[in-house]
């Protein structure tokens, strides 16, 4: 190994351009971890009351057969790994392969997603990412290292639910991952809880104060009949944005079609400028349009 190559090895490190968002990324991680520590403090204080509630529950299940029967088939809850108030994005879980997503259960304020392997519940949750979105108020949940879906998680019926308008499977161009969209009928605050033994991902919802009711201008593709086409368009948009487009997403429209969205803008002029930027970045062949959308509106079904 020559000295020049050893020098090159050293210099190779300095040639790596540091991403401009590194500073913000680190600050967000510290804020996220700090919020978890504060929450754990609160949880410790609540331990006694939880223990008391559990005692009452245990007595109830053992002394009232009807309650016991009702609980059959619902997976027991595991040990809490983390519980974090969602601030734009949350990730967690472990690297897994071949888990199945579901069964899915929900109550007035909580969606619980269990995971299975073979015929038993998985011990640890797969790697997940939950991101928060507006227009409409929604969450996108990605789960990686999974292969199958329990029937209860395919098209859960949330008719009449206090917070949830609909939940559907979106598309992700990775055959070991699944992506879901949960659309709310009002702004919500979300706590993401990860549990282990058995594994579960819980999304706990509560009403949030309404933010500004202003409409925005969405830069999006036209509606596609298949999720796969929307997935390809999403990849094209991400590539044009050099994989940095945080607002890029796929949504189902009002008539059941799918579209890829590149971003939301306060004014039509800003949206138009973004379209120009995308076209200059090599997205010339992809037809884009601009849609004006209210805070709770489902995207329109738009054809060229």
């Amino acid at each position: 190994m020559s000295q020049s190559t050893k020098d090159t090895l050293r210099q190779a490190f300095d040639h790596i351009t540091v991403a401009p968002e590194l500073d913000n990324t680190i600050r967000r991680s510290i804020a996220r971890a700090s919020s978890r520590r504060r929450l754990q403090g609160v949880l410790k204080k609540s331990l006694l009351s939880v223990a008391a509630a559990f005692l009452i529950f245990a007595v109830g299940v053992n002394s009232l057969p009807a309650l016991g029967n009702t609980m059959e088939g619902i997976p027991v809850l595991g040990r809490l790994v983390s519980a974090l108030r969602l601030d734009r994005m949350e990730t967690g879980g472990q690297i897994t392969d071949g888990l199945h997503v579901g069964p899915l259960t929900f109550s007035r304020d909580t969606i619980t997603l269990n995971f299975t392997t073979g015929n038993s519940l998985a011990e640890t949750a797969p790697w997940y990412k939950v991101t928060e979105h507006t227009h409409p108020s929604s969450l996108i949940v990605e789960v990686h290292g999974v292969r199958g879906l329990h029937p209860s998680a395919i098209n859960p019926n949330f008719a009449g639910h206090a917070y949830i308008k609909e939940m559907y499977r979106s598309v992700i161009l990775d055959d070991s991952a699944l992506r879901f969209v949960i659309v709310f009928n009002q702004p919500v605050e979300t706590v993401v809880r990860e549990l282990t033994s058995p594994a579960a991902l819980q999304i706990v919802l509560s009403a949030a104060p309404s933010p500004s009711a202003a409409s925005v201008y969405a830069v999006r593709t036209y509606s596609q009949t298949s999720r796969g086409s929307a997935g390809e368009l999403e990849e094209n948009i991400r590539a044009a944005l050099e994989w940095q487009g945080e607002g890029v997403r796929i949504l189902r429209d009002a008539q059941g079609g799918y579209m890829a969205e590149a971003g939301l803008f306060a004014t039509e002029t800003a949206a138009q400028e973004f379209v120009t930027k995308l076209r200059a970045a090599g997205l010339g062949d992809t037809a884009l349009t601009i849609e004006r959308r209210g805070p709770n509106d489902i995207p329109l079904h738009l054809r060229p």
Binding site: M1, S2, Q3, T5, K6, T8, L9, R10, A12, F13, D14, H15, I16, T17, V18, A19, E21, L22, D23, T25, I26, R27, R28, S29, I30, R32, A33, S34, R36, R37, T91, I95, W127, H144, G145, D174, E242, W243, Q244
Partner: protein, 199 residues
């Protein structure tokens, strides 16, 4: 009041242990130990100072494993998060950066296992790099990428992060002799890959 090297005493000049530690470790090390102690007591700013001062180095190590910007940011983000929530488990505060680098490498290795492509993003090489150097760099990155995991870690930490072999051994939690063996094999492999003669 008892004094220690972990927290600056009220009257440092009259605290023999504090003065001795400061002399032995040098001013910077004492500052590090003090900051880690403050971070353990819940001082977020102290923790931020500790990680911000090394942010570029952390990012470049992560990038050396995952070869793309998004994953490198994810790895750094998760490392900082994990370090914060498990800081109380760090027994020797003076080894904060060794410990942090170990978390980072484990995260980066896990991430590199699940990423889809193995090619480095050439956009992350500065545009002012001459085309021939650009090609050489890509060849070099590819050759490092093909090394077995332990050898790759030694090369990254030794040549790209400027750690001593002793520090590399601390990070990898293996004996110094093992690190030397990994390095020897890695350099031999790179020499073969790059078809270069010894000087």
């Amino acid at each position: 009041m008892p004094c220690s090297v972990l927290a600056k005493p009220k009257d440092p000049d009259h605290c023999l242990m504090y003065r001795a530690a400061k002399t032995l470790l040098g001013g910077m090390s004492v500052t590090l130990v003090e900051k880690v102690a403050r971070a353990k007591r819940g001082d977020d700013q102290a923790f931020a100072d500790l990680v911000m001062s090394r942010q570029e180095k952390l990012y470049r190590i992560a990038y050396s494993y995952v070869d793309n910007r998004e994953d490198a940011l994810d790895v750094v983000s998760e490392t900082i998060y994990q370090a914060y929530v498990s800081l109380q488990k760090l027994r020797q505060d003076e080894y904060f950066y060794t410990w942090l680098t170990r978390i980072l490498i484990n995260r980066a290795i896990n991430c590199s296992k699940r990423r889809r492509t193995g090619e480095r993003d050439s956009r992350d090489i500065p545009l002012d790099t001459a085309p021939t150097n650009r090609e050489s760099l890509l060849d070099l990155y590819a050759a490092i990428g093909r090394l077995p995991r332990e050898q790759k870690t030694v090369v990254i930490l030794k040549y790209q992060s400027d750690l001593t072999l002793e520090e590399v051994a601390d990070v990898m939690q293996v004996p110094l002799g093992t690190v030397k063996t990994y390095l020897h094999r890695a350099l031999k492999e790179l020499r073969l890959e790059l078809k270069e003669d010894d000087q």
